[in-house]
Every structure is written in C-alpha cells, then in structure tokens.
Symmetry: D3
Subunit: 67 residues, 6 copies
C-alpha cells in the first residue's frame, strides 16, 4: 500500500532507468515492510535544473561550475 | 482553507474535466468539514505514464497489456 | 489510479468525516475521469494550526481573532 | 537540512526570479532555525493555470475575469 | 541529489526498518542513476489508518475485514 | 497564490520560529514574484529524526555522531 514519490533533476533519465527505480523501490518496500505490492504506487517527478536549489544555488549554476 | 493535490496520469484530461475536479473537491470539503472555500487550493499534477508505477510496473507497460 | 492528498488543519475532524472525504473524492474521480477506483489512494494530513499559514499569518493567530 | 517545495502558477517566472526564491528561502531557514544550508533543498513546481483552483475555480478562468 | 518521500500507514514500523528503507532507496538511486548520495534526502511519513483510503475505503475498515 | 511546504526535522522549533518562517516566506514570494499574499498558504511539516535520511543515514544516527 505504500506511496513513494521520487524527485530527480530533469537530465535525461531513460524509460528503462525509471522502470528500474519503480521495480526496485517496490521490491524494497515489500522486503523491508512485508507490504503487498498490488496497490503500491511510485511517482517520479523530473524537475528542471533551474527549479532545483541546493545550498541556496540553482543546479543549473552548479552544473556550469562542474558540480 | 484545505489544500488538495490530485495526481493523475497524463492521458488527455480536458480543461472541463479539470474544472469539474476543482469544483467537486472544493464542494466536498465544504460539505463534509464546513470549511470556507475562499482560500481553498486544488492543484492537479499530470504525470507521464513512464513515471507512474503500480505494483512495480510502469503504467506505460500496463497500458500495452490492455490494463 | 489517481493519488489524492488532502491537507486540513488539525481541528477535530472525526473518523466519519474522513471516511466521507475518502469516499467522496474517490467517487468524484471515478465520475469525472472514468478511472478504476481499485488502486486509488487518498491520504489526509492533519496539520497543527501553528504550522499552517495563510496570508503570512499562523492559523492559530487567525483563530484567536475569530477568523 | 530542510526541504522546501514552492508551487506557483506557470506564468513566466524567470530563471533570475527562481534563483532569488532559492537563495531567499535558504537564507530565511538558516536565519530563523540556524540550519546548515549545505544539504538544504528547494524545489519549485510551475503548475499550468488550468490545473490550479482557488475557491473552486480554475486560475485560467479567474485570470479571464481580471483577477 | 534526489529527494524521496515514502508514505506508509502508521502500523509499527521499527527504527531499524526505517533505516533499511533509507539505506536501500539511497543505494538504488545511486545504482540506477549514478547520483552522488551526499545530498540525497529520504523522508518517511507514517499516516494513521483512518487517514488513508484505498478504493474509497479507510484502511482502518479494511483491516477490520482482514485485508 | 503560491503554496509552500517546508519540511524540517522535529527538533523543538518554537511557535515563534514557525511564525517567522510563515511571514518570511510569504514576504519573499510577494517581493520576488509580486504575488497577492491573500491566498498564499505555507505548511510546515516536522519530521521525526528517525524518519529523515541524508546520504543514506538516519538523522538520529547523524546526531549521535555529533553532526
């Protein structure tokens, strides 16, 4: 029954990578908590680097600095 | 005053359907809780089917299987 | 399949009111979007009035002023 | 360490405005709570006006009425 | 850099189980996306069974029916 | 109209600090985006340190190590 929301920056995650995240998180919750996966929902949000800040700085600007 | 977030898969919901969801949820909260709707906010997120997983599987893949 | 999150202030909503919100939102999404309710999830968060601000003011303080 | 999510309507916020929101929120949390900003995350979501409701009405429709 | 929010019903998850979820999700994101875990945040919300609905019904009521 | 959600660890933030966060964020959004604060909502979530992970480790455990 758990619900999981994963937010990542929008930088070319492939459909295969998303499928792996969905599978992997669902299996983890099943293994650790023993939850039935039938109604388990995983939602991935891809956020533009301009809209994501770390330590007060846009990721866009961090990327320019090689971080 | 309530805040409501509705997440649906991004599969052609029309503007009229969204208007009905916003109206309907607002009225429901008013009816059940007696809340003043003036500052009630409803936000609808449309999520690509690749980014939504149920039971460990992408909705894209479920759709292909006719689910 | 939709996921709905309802946030209300923590001011004595009863279990029956929560049941009505869950039922009502689920039916609304089914009516408007034709979604199968089997995997539809509704989560209600009750937020202390000290932790909820409107127009820059805590709800606790608004309540004291009779709002 | 705090995490902040800001949701605004998708109406032409510039990259500079987003940078100011990220900087400003990070500084505010540091000033008020004394938190180390190194792992502080701010995420801005821009929501289409059709998908945002206030008082039961889409923002698209409010904008048409000059609100 | 990813941010993950896991919502589960509030039914006696132990501190060890939470530690495993946090470790496991962080490792998964690192493996699948190659992300640096240093600023990766995982937040677990435990939601009362009265406040969680599936298929229009409170989990409290589903539990009573043995589901 | 913006909506802001601030998540902090549950470590004795006072009501006055929360009031300052609510005021400060509301003013910031007004200054940067020119938004009307009347329908601006800020919600603060306080998360137990067992339920918050950074870099794959519970904050509870980081605190024990003096971080």
């Amino acid at each position: 029954m758990p619900y999981v929301n994963i937010k990542i920056t929008d930088e070319d995650a492939t459909s295969e990578q998303k499928a792996k995240l969905i599978e992997g998180v669902t299996r983890l919750l099943q293994d650790v908590l023993g939850k039935n996966p039938a109604t388990m929902i995983v939602i991935i949000d891809e956020v533009p680097t301009d809209n994501w800040g770390i330590a007060g700085e846009q990721v866009t600007s961090r990327r320019r600095r090689g971080m």
